[in-house]
């Protein structure tokens, strides 16, 4: 019997559908708010969104990447020199034996580099497709970067400890978490298990890795940025060759996924001078930067040259690179004409 004011079946069904609809809408809004997502997930999602968007709107889709700030300390310091007045700093305190501390620095560095590479689509996404065209420039007029993270080494970490850090070896012999491949194999599509010879590109290591006198105490924090750089080019072989001969890759012992590189010459970078690309850590004998030199020169550069996944038919080739460089204006700007993402 249908009493006055009772709900009819139609009303109940309507309300049920409305509630379900609200739940979907609320879920969508929650998703837009990026509720529980980490900064890395947000960044990756925005990179995917941009790369798969139509070239007409690609430039207007922001990369929602915020530079991570990591401080490694061996005492009570919190990298105040590097991150003064900045927020959301992840402070990691070294614990255990000397070997454990070294391993922690190596692991954090390797992961920072891998995360940067992975989040930005392993260099296979065209992230800046129409960006330069939007500025009224040709596609190959500039490189665009995202500073994925800044890693500061507090002055409480001794130079002796830093000198024993070998990120290169760590990446060659340790597996990426959740993977059966080493960091090196992951960066090179499983093609490479050892680092390429520097002789191949007439590289002169003695000019770059003499780091000057070592000191046991450090008076300043030292800071490295893990940055992702992408550049468009018509000929990927030329791009890779120029990257290598410029010294940007090989100084850091970098290795690329594209192992076969045809010859040619395309100027990819705004600055032609090889030394300028590397900046401070290429300068021999600078005592103030000795520890940073040692540490930075061990960090790898990894890159990918090839066809991007993009909707832009006219700009499918280019090179991407992830590299650790000292966080100074000279170093970063020599690699990056434009920086996207939030500081």
């Amino acid at each position: 019997m249908n009493k006055k004011g009772d709900l009819t079946t139609t009303q109940i069904v309507t309300i049920a559908f409305a509630i379900a609809g609200f739940a979907v809408a609320a879920g969508f809004i929650y998703y837009l708010n990026y509720g529980q997502q980490s900064d890395q997930e947000i960044c990756h999602l925005s990179a995917l969104t941009r790369a798969t968007a139509s070239s007409a709107i690609q430039g207007s889709i922001p990369l929602k990447c915020t530079t991570g700030k990591i401080c490694i300390t061996d005492g009570s310091g919190g990298c105040e020199d590097s991150f003064a007045g900045e927020k959301e700093i992840t402070v990691i305190k070294l614990k255990g034996t000397e070997n454990e501390k070294i391993s922690t620095i190596e692991e954090i560095s390797a992961n920072a580099m891998f995360d940067c590479w992975n989040i930005m689509g392993q260099g296979k996404l065209d992230l800046y497709g129409s960006y330069w065209q939007n500025l009224g420039l040709e596609t190959n007029e500039g490189s665009t970067c995202v500073v994925c993270s800044r890693l500061a080494l507090d002055k409480s970490i001794s130079s002796e400890l830093l000198a024993k850090v070998n990120v290169k070896k760590y990446m060659q012999s340790n597996l990426v978490p959740g993977s059966s491949l080493t960091y090196l194999q992951t960066f090179t599509d499983n093609e490479v298990s050892a680092y390429s010879s520097v002789d191949k590109y007439s590289y002169k290591p003695t000019e770059n890795i003499n780091v000057g006198p070592s000191r046991t105490t450090r008076t300043e924090d030292e800071q490295v940025a893990f940055l992702f750089m992408q550049i468009k080019a018509g000929n990927i072989g030329d791009s890779l060759k120029n990257l290598a001969t410029d010294g940007a890759i090989l100084l850091a012992g970098g290795t690329f996924a594209a192992s076969t590189v045809p010859g040619g010459s395309t100027l990819l970078f705004r600055l032609a001078a090889p030394a300028a690309r590397i900046g401070l850590f290429a300068v021999p004998g600078v005592a103030g930067f000795s520890a940073l030199n040692t540490y930075s020169s061990q960090l790898l550069a990894a890159g990918y040259c090839g066809a991007y996944t993009t909707n832009d038919e006219n700009a499918k080739n280019g090179c991407s690179l992830v590299q650790a460089v000292p966080y100074t204006v000279g170093n970063i700007n020599s690699l990056c004409d434009n920086i996207q993402g939030n500081p």
Binding site: K4, G5, D6, L7, T8, Q11, T14, I15, A18, G21, F22, A25, A26, F28, I29, L32, N33, S60, I61, P62, L63, K64, T66, T67, E80, A84, G85, E86, K87, C145, V147, Y327, T328, V329, I332, N333, C336, D337, N338, I339, G341, N342, P343
Partner: protein, 196 residues
């Protein structure tokens, strides 16, 4: 006979559902807009917050050099509380601001009064108790004055069109922040500085 109570309940439910639905839709659209359009503003806020933080972290007599991420077509400027012509959002305090350029500095179209309006409407300011000067190497005449005198003695507004500022590049810029007594000087050595 019509069931008035049932009709009323049906209508009220419909209205409530419609209102909630429309609200959700509007909020969703707003969030989409925020995500797509406001990224530059978020970046600008992050930059000015970072500068404010670094400024506050310095002690009297200290100079700090910092690498700051720039935004193309934005600039940093500042007003001391003794200066006239400050944006309203600075109220009675000194402030540093990051503002979008509305005209090209150094061009014939340049109009500082337009810039001030844009700074008020679209810029982000942070108040400080110190006298503030934000200058770059391009502002030659002002640099000479500022480094020779205490800021409270300088009427920066006398420079009219050459408002002291740091035009931001699209990559990194190094800024020096000097804190002395009641003054804060934010200085940048910019290579290709256009003087407005």
């Amino acid at each position: 006979m019509r069931n008035k109570k049932g009709d009323l309940m049906n209508n009220v439910l419909g209205v409530i559902i419609a209102v909630i639905g429309l609200s959700l839709l509007a909020y969703g659209a707003y969030k989409v807009y925020q995500n797509v359009v406001n990224s530059e503003e978020q970046k600008a806020k992050a930059i000015i917050d970072s500068i404010e933080g670094k400024m506050n972290a310095l002690n009297d007599g200290q100079i700090g050099k910092f690498a700051i991420q720039g935004i193309k077509d934005w600039y940093i400027t500042g007003w001391s509380k003794t200066e006239t012509g400050r944006p309203d959002k600075c109220a009675l305090e000194s402030c540093i601001c990051i503002c979008p350029q509305s005209t090209e500095f150094g061009s014939g179209d340049f109009d500082w009064s337009k810039e001030k309006t844009t700074c008020q409407d679209k810029g982000f300011c942070r108040k400080t108790e110190n006298h503030v000067a934000v200058i770059s190497s391009g502002d030659v005449a002002i640099v000479a004055d500022i480094f020779g005198l205490e800021l409270k003695e300088i009427e920066l507004s006398k420079y009219k069109d050459v408002r002291p500022k740091i035009i931001l590049p699209s990559n990194l810029v190094e800024i020096s922040i000097e804190k002395k007594k009641d003054d804060v000087i934010i200085f940048s050595q910019i290579q290709e500085q256009k003087v407005g």
